[in-house]
């Protein structure tokens, strides 16, 4: 979505246009869902989390000043939403070990081989610390630039580079172990 078009849609949505807000959702739903799925490894929870992100956008639309791209804001909210859900999930599993393991299905349209690859990747991401997981997902999955990642995560570009380097090392380490097994 072009910046001007995006601003226009935001203004229309602020004035109460449901169509404009729906257009914003349509343009951004895949990236929000994708990032939620990578971080939560559960399609149903990722769907709910993505919905919550857009509800939050709707609620804070009046306060949205348009200084940054809407995608930047959505990424930030999605990362926070997923981090919060993961913390909640960790508390639940700590208090109740009998909880079901997360489901990593990504939909019936994806071929089995691809599904396995995605599942392996998601499992590897799940084993990483949050800062490394976030920076890796933004760079490799969302293909964001270092500058964009720095803005989204509110860190310096130098930190993005060093975190990404260590995150890639960690991912290889985990995937290597997974393949040996």
């Amino acid at each position: 979505m072009k910046v001007d078009n995006e601003r226009e849609l935001i203004e229309q949505a602020k004035e109460g246009s449901e169509g404009a807000f729906t257009a914003i959702v349509t343009a951004n739903k895949q990236r929000v869902f994708r990032i939620c799925l990578s971080l939560l490894r559960d399609a149903r929870e990722a769907d709910e989390a993505a919905q919550d992100v857009f509800v939050k956008l709707y609620e804070s639309l009046e306060r949205f000043r348009g200084e940054s791209r809407i995608s930047t804001w959505l990424y930030r909210v999605a990362l926070n939403e997923c981090a919060s859900r993961r913390r909640g999930r960790a508390k639940l599993t700590a208090s109740d070990d009998a909880g079901d393991p997360p489901d990593s299905k990504i939909g019936p349209d994806v071929a089995l081989e691809q599904r396995e690859a995605v599942d392996l990747l998601h499992r590897a991401l799940d084993q990483m610390d949050e800062p490394f997981r976030e920076v890796l997902v933004l760079r490799e999955l969302e293909e964001r630039t270092y500058e964009e990642i720095a803005v989204i995560l509110e860190i310096s570009i130098g930190t993005v580079e060093s975190r990404l380097f260590r995150a890639r090392q960690k991912l290889r380490e985990i995937l290597g172990k997974a393949e040996v097994r």
Binding site: D109, V118, L121
Partner: protein, 125 residues
């Protein structure tokens, strides 16, 4: 070197597959349903808070009245002594005159005494 590039390719394939993930159908309508639910819940919460605040006020106000020391009874200021109407003015005046009369007798006696003394004194001078 080769194994590193193979790893890169494998990773790239994984990321590429992960990029294909899309939300289930009718995502937008579910977002709208959730927005409406949130708005409705928020309206309910506002109404509940308003009712709770009103109930607290209703209960707390009488309790507050009892807790605070009762205001002191109004001090009864006595009517200023003295005449209030024409009749009492006359009565008061009569009493004063009576007093004057009484004093007059005494005064007369005193005056008489004084005069006799002064006469004596005067007589002596």
């Amino acid at each position: 070197m080769n194994s590193e590039s193979e790893n890169d390719t494998d990773e790239e394939k994984m990321w590429s597959a992960a990029r294909g993930a899309a939300p289930p159908k009718e995502f937008e309508s579910r977002v709208w349903t959730r927005i409406r639910q949130t708005r409705s819940a928020s309206r309910w919460m506002t109404a509940v808070w308003a009712l709770a605040a009103a109930a607290i006020l209703l209960v707390a106000l009488p309790l507050f009245k009892h807790t605070v020391a009762p205001a002191p009874a109004p001090i009864s200021v006595p009517e200023p002594a003295g005449p209030a109407d024409n009749e009492s003015i006359e009565m008061t005046a009569a009493a004063i005159l009576f007093d004057w009369d009484t004093r007059e007798y005494e005064d007369v006696l005193n005056v008489l005494d004084d005069e006799s003394e002064s006469n004596f004194e005067g007589g002596s001078t």
